[in-house]
Subunit: 804 residues, 2 copies
Amino acid sequence: MPDAHAPAAAGTVPAPSAQGPLGADELRALDAHWRAANYLAVGQIYLMANPLLAEPLRPEHIKPRLLGHWGTSPGLNLVHTHLNRVIKARDLDALCIWGPGHGGPAVVANSWLDGTFSEIYPDVSRDAAGMARLFRQFSFPGGIPSHVAPQVPGSIHEGGELGYSLTHAYGAAFDNPELVVACVVGDGEAETGPLAASWHSTKFLDPVHDGAVLPVLHLNGYKIANPTVLARLPREELDHLLRGVGHEPVHVTGDDAAAVHQEFAAAMDHCLDRISDIQRRARVDGATGRPRWPMIVLRTPKGWTGPREVDGKPVEGTWRSHQVPLAGVRDNPEHLRQLEDWLRSYRPAELFGGDGRPRPEVLACVPGGTRRLGASPHANGGLLLRDLPTPPLERHAVEVDKRGSAVHEPTRVLGGLLAAVMEATAERRDFRVVGPDETESNRLGALYGATSKAWEAETLDTDEHLARGGRVMEVLSEHLCQGWLEGYLLTGRHGLFSSYEAFAHIVDSMVNQHLKWLRTARRLPWRRPIASLNYLLTSHVWRQDHNGFSHQDPGFVDHVLNKSPECVRVYLPPDANTLLSVAEHVLHTRDYVNVIVAGKQPSFDWLTLDEARAHCARGVGTWEWAGTEDGSRDPDVVLACAGDVPTLETLAAADLLRRHLPELAVRVVNVVDMARLLPAGEHPHGMPDSEYDALFTRDKPVIFAYHGYPWLIHRLGYRRAGHRNLHVRGYKEEGTTTTPFDMVVRNDLDRYRLVMDVVDRVPGLGVRAVAVRQAMADVRTRHHAWIREHGVDLPEVADWTWSG
Amino acid sequence: MPDAHAPAAAGTVPAPSAQGPLGADELRALDAHWRAANYLAVGQIYLMANPLLAEPLRPEHIKPRLLGHWGTSPGLNLVHTHLNRVIKARDLDALCIWGPGHGGPAVVANSWLDGTFSEIYPDVSRDAAGMARLFRQFSFPGGIPSHVAPQVPGSIHEGGELGYSLTHAYGAAFDNPELVVACVVGDGEAETGPLAASWHSTKFLDPVHDGAVLPVLHLNGYKIANPTVLARLPREELDHLLRGVGHEPVHVTGDDAAAVHQEFAAAMDHCLDRISDIQRRARVDGATGRPRWPMIVLRTPKGWTGPREVDGKPVEGTWRSHQVPLAGVRDNPEHLRQLEDWLRSYRPAELFGGDGRPRPEVLACVPGGTRRLGASPHANGGLLLRDLPTPPLERHAVEVDKRGSAVHEPTRVLGGLLAAVMEATAERRDFRVVGPDETESNRLGALYGATSKAWEAETLDTDEHLARGGRVMEVLSEHLCQGWLEGYLLTGRHGLFSSYEAFAHIVDSMVNQHLKWLRTARRLPWRRPIASLNYLLTSHVWRQDHNGFSHQDPGFVDHVLNKSPECVRVYLPPDANTLLSVAEHVLHTRDYVNVIVAGKQPSFDWLTLDEARAHCARGVGTWEWAGTEDGSRDPDVVLACAGDVPTLETLAAADLLRRHLPELAVRVVNVVDMARLLPAGEHPHGMPDSEYDALFTRDKPVIFAYHGYPWLIHRLGYRRAGHRNLHVRGYKEEGTTTTPFDMVVRNDLDRYRLVMDVVDRVPGLGVRAVAVRQAMADVRTRHHAWIREHGVDLPEVADWTWSG
């Protein structure tokens, strides 16, 4: 398609003869808006003074550091201009996700033009002084970042890490039946895995209960230094691909502004008509077939209307326009001249009055009030957020008559609570549970009593729980689950992501970006708090009997705890009632990422609901019933634990100690809220030293059985007085397919090893302790032989119950 | 396609009338092989005795814990059987990647049948005793895992975490022109992002220099609990999708064994003929168009030939056959009877002699020697690995006449070395550099003097450095980069992955799995060492002037250091020559993941090549020239640093201290190899306490300026005597778009803050130190005002050079 790469004359006067739905006035107005946005984008990248070119450009008007991405900006400006038009013409409730969000100058320019930027940041007024500030603040220390970021009104999507635009768009559209979510997908981004998978979201969008997503695949042809794969496919092959993912593509190709305006306006009209038609047929006529949703393929030159050549090399229509096409403007008079020509090619005097205000023609296409893309409440989801109705926990809690004797599957108990929430939101439809094909496997099947799994593709008689409009979402892509949920939360709804613990790492980078968004948004007073992103990590490292080493990794907690403490919370409830209590809490929190690690296998109940509530509220506490202190003095040793399996082994160890070394004063401390281990100054949940010392002592041995990598406990606790006496057992990469108890033995986290640790670390124990230690070592030796012979655990382990 | 889901009679006698390329004898023999493999797969899941059903099945023959994945196994067995046929018929050099590698029983069964399993594990002989061991060891404590894992001969791909099969297949095929890499892609896996992106690898496979990849998309229709998206597309839509990614699909659909054998054999023949034709046209005729590679869509029932119904619910052809279709065999006589019927449906007496040896007809299709899939040297890449030719570093090193005055871009210097390696391997073609569109941006452009970027799609006149057969690979997908490189390394070649530091997290989970593979393989004597996976993380957290917060995250190092110490190495070379030295070292290592974090921006040269070599060999050391010790006693304070920017700030702080507090004895310690900070027992590179104490002292303040999250240094060093005096500065999530120096100020890592830290922590300093501290604080205050006004750094920072 060489024509797509040929440079266009910047700011060409629209040819009135161009064919299409736009009359001459409207065409001229749209082009004026587009030119204004382009002018403002270039201004942001280059200028720190003389914004209206009131005088010839001089080096001192130019920023000392030229930062920003020009290449994608004219395309984004085109799409924004035309979205304005159709929103106004159709009174659309619309949102746009800007996949190439590194083109920050474009989206910022548009929100300045539609007035929202100045409403939020009054010092950046919509006049000459404001324009000067708009230009200067961009990518400038103390100003706004170079990408579309939380600071930009109308956005829910940071454009830095590519690949998530389309999942965010779908997340926004779910359960928003009146919303149209446009989504510009860059052809660079389209090469990423998450984006490639996102196209199949068409099988999960319900035309009755959900809104519409209108993808605009922008083929500007280049990445930083390379052509893009999709731009170099023959059109027929690209069409195959897009039809293959369930779309009907409409193509707009060109570099003649007037013709592209006409074609793009026609394409938008066509797609929106098609969307209305699809929705009407589903909602009114009751059609049930999966629709083929329309989409637009927009092929325009990268850096369109920018410098055609710089220093003898082609720039417009090539990767060289990706960032700053003229790099030497301050020192190179020829570059300075080119920049001035470029800016003047948009004919700013036609666009802005002498006072810098956009002329009426420029603003003719801009809709009003909250219809403006910059002012959509969906893009500031906290405005729309309602508190989640949660039923009394008593209805779901398990009875605990005797600790450590009855077993429940904690996540199955949680499933009851989630089902009740799902039921309570049946009308509101603002709660979803996502997961990669594991809701049932994770024992959350009770949800299917209240809703179904979203599914728009073919169904068979043997299928179960699949339905249009279901609010459980299962797809074998953690990326899609995460992206959908992020989009859903950012637009003011609630949700939970249940996943295998190990495979949460698949979305490490996505959770990074979401946390960055939250952290930045919290510092913007105009951004209202949104519901937290809640992870339930189950099928955890200790219970991979089926799957072994590849499914074992407890490090997501470490990853999350590296991030801003104001936004991260990690909970390891040790049984069913503590899981309920934690879950109820996190579902009501705002602006956090909450990570809950909990088991799905049958395991002992330790705490009644009331005890669980009190314990979880404090986040850490002594379990007096488990220890052997008499309260008269510090204990001889503290057995600390965090996580269901470590808690089991710790209690079994306490049991052994009570029986074999009854004179030893043992304290058992259980940790639910990991951040409590941090110093008070390091995390909002951090414990003061006084509280920590009272729990863990300042000088007694602490044997800490932890769910994950042991050094995390050291990283959290290294500042404490008693740190030198802290001895941590945890997962040390000894993973495989084996029995649950063999797993803890392999990682030296088992009850017998913990007792040996106590004997090794408590000073002044006598000869009987040595014998006890030997007995423990002997059981471990017996275990090794037994397990290989029988493939199951020793009877004394399998049959153990709490005897305290 | 309801017919695909209808259950088939298990072990149907092939109807001799079925049409296709197979004669009656061959058909019978192939079916016998398939039935034998199915029998062996079921046996592995269920039996711990009575492997040949010599007597009626009793509960005690059944394993106490039933673990494994049956659903995918018959499909994998079918593909393996037919691969045997074509390998033998065509004397193919072939490899197969088993995407649904959780079907471990199938691939293990086949490698037992072809003899390779017994050759590697002689106790699992190809007879009755060996069959008993084969069954018992599967997913049994002390045995082999349930997935295809390093223990399985012929594999380079663990099937636990889904999504990477196709990239591994392409990685194996690159630069292996005679190799055919079959790749079974499960329809569950096909929903993942990485797999969805992998299809576009067709644009990077050169029919001249590379081998062929033959994808077999296996639509068995279900995941754990859901149908799959691709299986529920109308055939036309699926065909659009597959053509859209550049393939010509051939469909094989059915549940009648004989018909499927015939159709699948015909499809394999067709595809292999097509591949030969494509290769001949490219290699002999010089055709340059991008070929449309053939592929197979195989649609057979999940759990085919397994129990049709269990407890009144359909199982064969549904998700219920995913794992263990009959779960209650030990206790439920009806389940036991069903299992026996199931096993006997394969007619084991026809397949195995009374001694348990497979009958000749069963083995008729099996190729010989290293043509067997279980014996391919490509799947044990260390067998093929040759040491990499690296030129003398002297040719690439920078001259350092005066430290800290001249600047170089370290990665540009490295680019020269990599280009030389690329040149030296021009004939061998066993070295590739991969990266997401950043090779030039990362200053490695010298590579293009030695090779090009692989590109098979359309090219334009304006393109640069794109060519068929190029060995730099750029695609905007970290997943593809990682997967390609893993496949390349696992088949015995070398490579390097250059990436933005922050976006390495995109492949966190992939590097986890690769490390698990390495760790397991190292413990298998028959697996030969392979070249390490080398990361160059540049565009790092401190230099995101263009991109800001979204591009800032130094946590990949933390992630990697959680994994098995025997396999992970992390290097932070502080300048150009140290980067060269580290790079040369890692390119010759085996079985590691090496992470190098290095800058691409102009930065000072500190060490000559000889000094750099000595420093990097030790991994940590005192820079005497930078400190003010006289050697007569311990220093007053140690300034430690790791990473290029922290080293700069530390040296600038040392410079300030020398000028302002000359009486203070300052030691400067630089750390290149992060694992050296660990205790000797924790990592092979760990330092003994004596060495650590000699460097860092036992009791003097250590101000440690670290590149990443500061607590990593505490996690590495908490066991050291001097830990309580360790004060670490690093990145604390204060990211944004700003100047390099403002970034360090925001994170309290700047030279002035470091001097203040020294004053705060060295006891007994006088009033002059207080004044110095105030002066430092004043500069920081001035900085804040200056940066907002001018957008550039203070002149005294911008112009600073080392004055020592």
